[in-house]
């Protein structure tokens, strides 16, 4: 039987026999089910994925009726990464009018709340112009990015210098101080942009600095929800489980470290999120079928647990998309189709 052409997690091409494809799907599913303590794929799922990968189509799409909302985090910044130096508002109109985006997101080049604080008045003006030139919901997005609160960029000692020295108590205290600083900045910036008319907000790449980063996002969200009861905030994650850099931080009585997407979403809901963006990391040493089976298991469990809309993250190195600057359309479209159709997603 002819071999099935697909890719590795680093984007390089690979050919699998049907038996190898099935084995990778089973192994990826088992890995996620074991780690997350959630159900693996069933026989219908395996058949769906086998057929999806066996197709010779360069590009695939969801069946009619299965379309979902498409949103883009950091949209205004991504042109610059490809050396297309368009002004941010022009980029937003391109996303809306040419790329079929259902929401558009304005973000500053640093894409972190802290550096926006001193220039929030400039951002407010840009946002207001954006609201006048676009029709779809305009979201303001950035990361909590607790790393910016450590010396020399911020006031706190760097836990990653303290921890290797065995100074665990000091490192934990530094993380706790960073949480306070970050909450204050997020509440200030998001509040300012909300009062300028932003339709929604994205606390993005939450957890990039570990459990303290997640706690800061949730606490900021609580404060914002209390101050602005109708505010719409999406929480987008950084990784599939929350790294325990502090290890003992809790939210709503639950230890944050080690939580997987189906557990993260419940706490995001509790904090006041209206959309949740789970992440599953791509393993570059494994094939895309292995990665996709694994991703479907995690995202489906998250979607089932959620009471709010779930928009899975798809992009470089997440959502079974290879770690390449330009995601190959063959596996990107397959991963998108499978996540939407197997995981009952609300958006990507």
């Amino acid at each position: 039987m002819s071999k099935i052409w697909t890719r590795m997690g680093d984007g390089s091409p690979v050919e699998l026999t049907p038996a190898e494809l099935r084995q990778d799907l089973e192994d990826g599913s088992a890995d996620a089910a074991d780690r997350g303590g959630v159900p693996g794929l069933n026989e219908d799922d395996f058949k769906y994925l086998e057929e999806l990968f066996a197709r010779r189509d360069r590009f695939v799409g969801v069946d009619v009726g299965n379309e979902v909302v498409l949103t883009y985090d950091g949209a205004a910044l991504k042109f610059k990464r490809h050396c297309l130096f368009e002004e941010r508002l022009h980029v937003l109109t391109m996303y809306e009018k040419m790329f079929g985006a259902d929401t558009v997101e304005l973000g500053h080049v640093d894409y972190s709340y802290k550096p926006v604080k001193p220039i929030v008045n400039y951002e407010q003006g840009t946002l207001e112009m954006g609201l006048l030139t676009t029709h779809s919901p305009l979201i303001y997005g950035a990361m909590p990015n607790l790393g910016l609160y450590t010396r020399p960029d911020g006031p706190c000692p760097n836990p990653m210098e303290l921890l290797p020295q065995g100074k665990i108590k000091e490192a934990r205290a530094a993380y706790e101080d960073m949480v306070e600083e970050a909450v204050r900045d997020m509440v200030f910036v998001v509040g300012s942009m909300y009062e300028s008319g932003a339709d929604g907000f994205n606390l993005d790449t939450v957890g990039a600095s570990g459990d303290a980063d997640v706690l800061a996002a949730f606490l900021a969200l609580e404060k914002l929800r209390a101050k602005y009861p109708d505010i719409a905030v999406e929480v987008g994650m950084a990784g599939e489980f929350i790294l325990g850099m502090h290890g003992e931080l809790q939210y709503d009585g639950q230890r944050l470290a080690g939580l997987y997407p189906h557990q993260q979403v419940k706490l995001a809901e509790k904090a006041g999120a209206v959309i949740f963006g789970p992440v599953v990391n791509t393993n570059t040493d494994q094939t895309i079928p292995w990665n996709l089976a694994r991703t479907v298991v995690f995202i489906r469990a998250c979607s089932k647990a959620a009471s709010i809309p779930v928009h899975a993250n798809m992009g470089m190195g997440v959502g079974a998309v290879p770690v390449t600057d330009f995601p190959p359309v063959d596996v990107l479209s397959r991963a998108s189709k499978a996540l939407v159709e197997l995981c009952d997603l609300d958006g990507l």
Binding site: G11, R35, M245, G258, G317
Partner: protein, 214 residues
Amino acid sequence: MSELFVQAKQAILATDKEKALEAAKRHLDAGGEPLEIISRGFVPGITEVGEQFGRGTLFLPELIMAAEAMMAVTDLLSAAMAAKGGSVSASPSGSILAATVKGDVHDIGKGIAIAMFKANGYAVHDLGRDVEVDEIINGAEKHGVRVIATSALLTTTMSEQKKLEETLKKAKLRDKYVTLVAGAPVTQRWATRIGADIYAENAHIGVVRVGEKL
């Protein structure tokens, strides 16, 4: 005796330095071979610590504490071997120099990797973040390490890892070191392309591959 191996393993899993040292001392007092309790007790313990960290069921502070317990017992057992006239070290051969490359300030992954290497008995010299290639090579020469490990989180800073390979070659130092590359955008394909010896998908794999290479 096997009870002591279990105690040794459990002490590392519980990140309990005192209990780990107690197990090592009792083993030595009973006339046991130092390497036996390392291979049958402490190493299985630290291996499981690494696996649990990778699964998100054990966290960085515990990993650091397990590393400290491991270092304490390897020091004790190495000294016992030396006293017996043995030439075999309880620690893996070779030390490691770690740095985040120039232009990149992301050091969480490097910090995790350092903890994991220390937990497995390696001596690690950490040059920090945003480090020039020349500084990395000077550091490697100064500390006499076997492995140079670099981390890059950005596609724009990965090129520093290539620069390191080229600079080592120009200085005729390339064969002296094992180079390891890691970081979110780094892949096996990149490592192969630039000529690095090891690509580590995560900290645990880094420890395994360095062990194989040395």
